[in-house]
Symmetry: none
Subunit: 208 residues, 4 copies
């Protein structure tokens, strides 16, 4: 009894599946709408209620049967992964956009700031980062690797520009990011997040 394949490999497509090339057949429309609805609902529900929420609840809020959710995401874990995927994809895009900025240090710190701002109170985004930040040593692949690489590029540039301590590694950043997000998971306080962010950024610049 091998695990059944999901409707579509999830590591190949993100939330920007609008393009879809010339792909999908007619029927696909229905299914894709549902898949997206599930993803939307799950993202929201995970963000507000945490990952422990039962799949049933996701199904209910999405207005569908459990079976439908399971058809699209054969495992709760896979649903979570898919949600995480979206987040990471969006962040990767932002990171790439920032690579062109004049001041590499500023770009890097802006990115951290962006993540913190977006992540406040969003348990799902936190979970997303948890997948990179937790268990630093597990080799990544797919979107998670892409995500790490995106951060890595920003970090490298910032380090070469002398804006960030040289002993810091990408995984340190993801770990810290995760770390901070976790805090914000429980504290929806913009003052706090700003101060923490500032402490972290200062710390990353290195001892004066």
């Amino acid at each position: 009894m091998p695990k059944k394949e999901p409707l579509c490999a999830q590591d190949n497509r993100g939330s920007n599946s609008i393009d879809a090339g010339t792909a999908g057949k007619s029927l696909r429309a229905d299914a894709r709408r549902n898949r997206e609805r599930i993803l939307d609902v799950a993202t929201k529900v995970f963000a507000t209620e945490g990952l422990e929420i039962p799949i049933d609840e996701v199904a209910n809020r999405a207005g569908m049967g459990i079976g439908t959710v399971y058809r699209h995401f054969p495992t709760k874990e896979e649903l979570i992964e898919a949600v995480v995927f979206s987040f990471k994809q969006r962040l990767i895009e932002k990171a790439r956009g920032m690579l062109g900025q004049d001041d590499p240090g500023q770009a890097f710190f802006n990115f951290l700031s962006l993540i913190v701002r977006e992540g406040r109170g969003n348990k799902a985004l936190i979970a997303a980062l948890a997948r990179s930040g937790a268990d630093i040593h597990r080799p990544l692949s797919g979107i998670s690797l892409d995500f790490q690489n995106a951060i890595g590029e920003l970090l490298n540039c910032a380090q070469q520009a002398g804006s960030v301590r040289n002993d810091i590694q990408v995984t340190d950043i993801t770990a810290i990011l995760f770390s901070v997000m976790r805090t914000l998971e429980y504290n929806d306080d913009s003052g706090l997040s700003e101060r923490i962010l500032s402490v972290v950024c200062d710390g990353l610049r290195g001892r004066c």
Copy 2:
């Protein structure tokens, strides 16, 4: 759902909870010994297995019936709180011991370091700190307040000595502490924890 009263309210007694007089009946001795055994076991079990472990397991390892555990801690939550209580108590003592050190900045940073070192791999301690670091705005009382105050004193001294940025508040520290602990929950890597600690401390010293 009317919560039953525990054998002894634990968050209501202040830090002077060491001995509520020698009041107790003889049976009390037996009961207290049991309570302490439960606490010991729970502390250990929570630390190694995490908070999700069933109460049954705690009871088993403590060599008593579930009923006994529930008699002392009417709720799993309350047992957890009690464990957290112990951790905080110990840390408070250490913090007080450090207050006398010559260099207040060093004292403060040493305390942070101590917590990080003790917290590595200790899921219960992490949870303990999570209870202070999470929901910064909830008014604390009892041990949690004491704990916060202990940190606060160290922080104040360090700030007066100019070793820590002045805009930082105690709650920021507990939040950060929690944050870092969470990371360590997933990454048992001493190098990582040292680097993060170093970043945080540098950041707390302030922009150069």
Copy 3:
């Protein structure tokens, strides 16, 4: 997360747990009564409805919560095993009683007859035999081994007396037994069972 141990190792006691020696504490009485009730109900339900019946149903018919069933038999499989256990134990006793008979051939054939008679329409007994008869090559242990040995002794004697073909092995008998029971699972026809039994017995005596 290791499997929890059942209330009592089931391979050590059978349905004749009435003796129980001087064992059980007071509380045990309650539990034992429940355990036996579950076993009774399960035996009956499995016999009439088959093994596919949900545990819920067993619990309902026994007038208890599911949890109680699971407390005594941590797994559906273990409940089934326990039921099987009882059957085998009873049969073993009968087999031993027959060993003393004058005509070893008759004893052996009587035993087969006994099983067939008892097993007609009893899906649980069939299941019991299935555990010995199916997968001949899996090494047995505990009660199943005892059961096989009991048959083996009867068979040996019968073979030495020249009443049964010498090329037949114990496992052949258990396989045949299982085989016949299965048939009787679907056909509650005494004439049929007698004829099949007669064919099998004749066949076992060997070519004339």
Copy 4:
């Protein structure tokens, strides 16, 4: 629960079901091809995986949608019946071929042997025979009746030739057949099957 009518009733047509005339519209050809493909795949899948395999799997391996399978076989049960039908049909043909043999006893025993040989490891064939051997008293019709009759003829001849006990009835044979098949379902051991077969055949010849 009103059962929907299948595309074509399968147990109502006699053995002359090979061609109901060349009636069918052009589309019928397509449909029949599909039906046959499903049947082929199901036969194979059931044989190797057992009847518990989900319909989805059958559909997948047949390279069509579930809907198509359900169009042809409105119920899983009916698909199983259809598979059984094919098996029986083939066996009937073999049985008829054997009717002409010189030694009617030999023919009969050869047939039994044939079934046993073909049935080893074929869970679907076993199920097929189970449908005849189980519930002996249910009046048969269609293919099942034909199958029984085929065996009946072989049996009759063998009995008239004195090679088989006279008290044996056709239904006994199907029951025994089922019985043996069941054993083989769990024990893929040619030695065992040969010995069992030999015991049964000897038994059928009658007491010496």
